[in-house]
């Protein structure tokens, strides 16, 4: 690769390079236009949007569109709902997944292979397939939730999120790279398996937790289908559901809708910006499976 500059460029390669440059330009345009136009429209007035000519930039940025959008509905409540749901999911699923991952990576027991195989198969089952039974099951928990069970409650919204087994898989992979001697030493010291997990493995889980947390957070925050099915009304509305409400009004205020769209995704973009490394790592760790 490094010697390329010394050699003369063959003619075929020049065509190759021009094609590549053009392809790159188109790609950048196609990827960037939606983002740019979302921001532009979010800062335009409605007459500007109704005007027929195309404008790349707003005439005068209407920053109040953002405040107006956030007054269109109870947005503090929606953000609170999404934040609580994401936080509970994150904490609970990280701990539960890590503990299970540790078992599959380190503790030998009779049906380990069989149970792990079931987990792998579970990973392949699309949540859309189990949508109806999960809904009807939660509805039947009338003991805790009243007449419609856990439907339209925080529990009903959160519990299914905690069940994913992808994290178990990631943690198992990660813990398998630890030397076995750690467990032997812990055993000598008289600590139980659980103590070894709690005091040795858990504190060393930073990297895998970071990746898993970023993915889990993005997944929960961005989820649309499950809140759509299990909640109704304002009380438990998440930010993604609230976004779609702009569409249900007669006239769509595109500027407010685009402003709200951007605001809703700001937490995701912040995480993406500052933890891009972990985001990418998590995606890649999932890809080297089996």
């Amino acid at each position: 690769m490094h010697s390329r500059s010394v050699q003369a460029v063959p003619r075929g390669d020049r065509a190759f390079r021009i094609a590549q440059g053009m392809f790159l330009m188109v790609t950048v345009l196609v990827m960037a236009i939606p983002l740019v136009m979302m921001i532009t429209v979010s800062l335009q007035t409605m007459p500007e949007i109704y005007a027929s000519e195309f404008k790349l930039l707003p005439a005068a940025p209407q920053w109040h569109n953002y405040a107006d959008a956030m007054r269109n509905g109870d947005w503090p409540l929606y953000f609170k709902n999404s934040a609580i749901v994401s936080a509970i999911t994150l904490v609970a699923s990280l701990f539960i997944n890590a503990m299970a991952g540790y078992v599959f990576a380190r503790i030998p027991f009779r049906f380990r292979q069989a149970v792990f195989l079931i987990v792998l198969i579970g990973m392949m089952i699309p949540p859309q397939v189990t949508l109806i039974p999960v809904f009807t099951m939660l509805r039947s928990f009338t003991l805790f939730g009243g007449r419609s069970g856990l439907v339209n409650t925080y529990w009903g919204l959160v519990l299914p999120y905690i069940a994913g087994s992808f994290g178990v898989f990631l943690c198992r992979q990660y813990y398998q790279t630890f030397p076995m001697e750690i467990d032997d030493a812990a055993h000598m010291d008289g600590s139980t398996r659980f103590q070894a997990f709690l005091h040795i493995y858990l504190p060393l889980s930073g990297p895998v937790f970071a990746s898993l947390a970023v993915l889990k957070f993005a997944g929960t925050w961005n989820e649309y289908t499950w809140p759509l099915v299990v909640t109704s009304g304002e009380r438990l509305k998440t930010v993604q559901l609230a976004l779609t409400a702009f569409r249900n009004e007669g006239e769509i205020f595109w500027n407010q809708l685009m402003a709200a769209t951007l605001v809703v995704e700001i937490p995701i973009y912040l995480v993406f910006l500052f933890a891009q490394k972990h985001f990418v790592q998590g995606l890649l760790m999932g890809s080297v499976k089996a």
Partner: protein
């Protein structure tokens, strides 16, 4: 060899530490999975469930709307996957050459993947809007005929495919890129010495070396495409004239709008079979490569 036989305290610790995960797994994945299959043989409507044998499946074969949903989903999946497969590879090959600004380009391609499908759908609703949308404004500016986009039965599905490709291309690029970076630079150097140009290095070294990664991209994008719902629900609701309805959209419609949950479960089982078939093929090939 002290691990040859299982210790009783290990077995106890293993099941104890797996317990929280297994409870969630059983409640929200395994049991609903079984119930989904059971419901598909009943006329379950949220109140009563009578066993009706294969009648739901029989009805599926005669239901023109489900027929359209199935065909639409296949078309959507086939075109999306083909485009993602090739465009992802090309962009990764370009980025792999370490040009200036690669980090920025990678970020530009990945932000749609981090963005929720809800937000992406909102952005493209704005871009595709017939009267005030950006795409039609650009077309008019260039003197071309504006299009009806999502309201045109001939192209609505292709608009959704475009959105899907736009959102997921960064993910595919990332997976390809990780595969390319594991290839020994010495291979390329040897080929260059032997007079191989850029194009033939790509075709004869990169392409064969990343076959397992390419297979992974193929399977994940395929499975993902078969689960398409959010886009449809938010952007078109299956309109115009069912040209954009999909399998999961029909599950949602039948299950949660019309409460024909037995019938919807039969659709869910069809989806499950398709998805598991693809995942199974993926696992199998993965083993032969590894």
């Amino acid at each position: 060899m002290q691990r040859a036989r299982f210790r009783a305290r290990d077995t106890r610790a293993a099941w104890g530490m797996l317990a929280p995960f297994l409870v969630f797994f059983a409640l929200f994945i395994a049991y609903p999975m079984v119930m989904s299959i059971y419901y598909s043989f009943t006329d379950y409507n949220l109140n009563t469930a009578n066993f009706i044998g294969l009648r739901n499946y029989e009805r599926l074969t005669r239901d023109p709307v489900f027929g359209m949903a199935f065909v639409n989903t296949c078309v959507y999946a086939l075109i999306s996957v083909t485009l993602l497969f090739f465009l992802g590879f090309i962009t990764a090959a370009i980025l792999n050459r370490g040009l200036r600004g690669v980090a920025g380009l990678r970020m530009l391609m990945l932000y749609p993947y981090a963005t929720s499908m809800t937000a992406v759908s909102m952005i493209f609703l704005m871009l595709f809007d017939v009267n005030n949308g950006v795409f039609n404004k650009i077309l008019r500016m260039m003197g071309a005929q504006p299009s009806n986009w999502l309201f045109d039965p001939a192209i609505a599905l292709y608009c959704l495919i475009f959105v899907n490709v736009w959102k997921n291309i960064g993910y595919c690029m990332l997976i390809y890129l990780s595969g390319m970076q594991t290839i020994e630079p010495a291979l390329y150097e040897a080929a260059t010495v032997d007079g191989a140009g850029e194009w033939s290095r790509l075709v004869h070294i990169t392409l064969p070396m990343i076959r397992p990664v390419a297979l992974f991209v193929l399977i994940t994008t395929m499975v993902d495409a078969f689960k398409t719902f959010e886009q449809v629900q938010i952007m078109t609701r299956g309109d115009p004239m069912y040209t954009t309805t999909t399998i999961v959209h029909q599950i949602y419609q039948q299950g949660f709008s019309d409460f024909r949950m037995g019938y919807a479960s039969a659709m869910a089982v069809v989806l499950l079979v398709v998805v598991l078939a693809f995942s199974g093929i993926g696992l199998r090939f993965n083993k032969t490569y590894a």
